[in-house]
Symmetry: C2
Subunit: 186 residues, 2 copies
DNA sequence: GTCTATATTAAGATAGAC
DNA sequence: GTCTATCTTAATATAGAC
């Protein structure tokens, strides 16, 4: 086959799709090669550290996605409730209506390295902080806002797990629907 | 090394620990061999179908655990609230206070076979049904009881994911604490 | 910058001794 | 019923042509 190429953006998107679906241990370089059209040697050219370096780049892209989409929507103009509704739409999109697993869940499985765990802990903390801030803006006390932020993330993550186990996205969709009340109504 | 042996009970317990920690793809026969003290050939003697048969036996044990511990506690004597408190203690035990991942989450990752998915869907549905029944006994309407049962499982699963990502079990412990209210207070 | 080809290690799986 | 030894396939990783 002739020279194929693929942008870093596109490459990381497809790699993310693999890692969130199969987990770190479930993704082989052959699988990555097949999904991206690049031979294994080319993967090593782009990422000399191999799978470990690729998964770190994927995690960095996830962090970037949180910043560009979620956190930006949370700090936009307008009333808090509207902003939370916009966030819910971003989440629906990222999780494909509940049919795709959460990268934080799948990449925090044992097997990945220590740096990966640190990135995932940091992005989860940033997510908690962002949800706490919007809840505070809605007039909640700091302690209630923190609890609601945690509850929101817990229910998003949990509903994705339950949806996958049941083969039915309804639990995720119900969770998104109650997100505005959860984060803006005391 | 001389002949070693291990009971099926003990074997499946250690195998469950591996699968819930590393996921189906992350568990190799070498890892199973090391964790159980049986050589690979002995694993094939006990489970001719290899890893796929082992993970099915592990999943069956998980189902059995749900029936023996959770569902039994839910159908015991006494007021519903007390029974839910007993269930919370069983959950605390099974998930080691929030430090061990949920087998349903980890085994429903893509890679396991279709039979495995069916078992996990069935046990999740049975769990939903059991929680719905205790909520109904507490006087809730069927539709509210169903919502609360789903919310309870969603929050258990989600808090385990968040606890793992943060490296802090507090979210799981908070979830257990509110379980009695969630399932028995309209 | 991607490819083909290949080396090396680990995984899944079986044969046969004890 | 468990072991050692071995086979086959797949995984990670590198060398060198283009």
């Amino acid at each position: 086959m002739a020279h194929r190429t693929i942008s870093d953006e596109e490459f990381l998107g497809r790699a993310l799709d693999l890692f969130r679906t199969y987990g770190y241990e479930g993704v082989s370089l052959s699988r990555l090669s097949e999904a991206t059209g690049l031979e294994k040697a080319s993967l090593y050219y782009r990422y000399p550290g191999g799978k470990e370096e690729i998964v770190m780049a994927v995690a960095a892209r996830v962090v970037q996605g949180f910043e560009e989409h979620l956190f930006t929507a949370l700090k936009a103009e307008g009333p808090p409730r509207k902003r939370v509704m916009a966030v819910a739409e971003q989440l629906r999109d990222f999780y494909c209506d509940g049919s795709k697993p959460c990268a934080i869940n799948m990449l925090s499985i044992a097997g990945g390295g220590e740096d990966l765990k640190t990135m995932l802990r940091n992005v989860t903390q940033a997510w908690l902080k962002a949800f706490t801030e919007i809840a505070r803006e809605s007039g909640m006390s700091l302690s209630l806002a923190r609890l609601r932020a945690e509850e929101a993330i817990v229910r998003i993550e949990g509903s994705l797990v339950v949806a996958r186990a049941l083969g039915d996205n309804a639990p995720f969709q119900r969770t998104l629907k109650l997100l505005p009340d959860l984060l803006t109504e005391a």
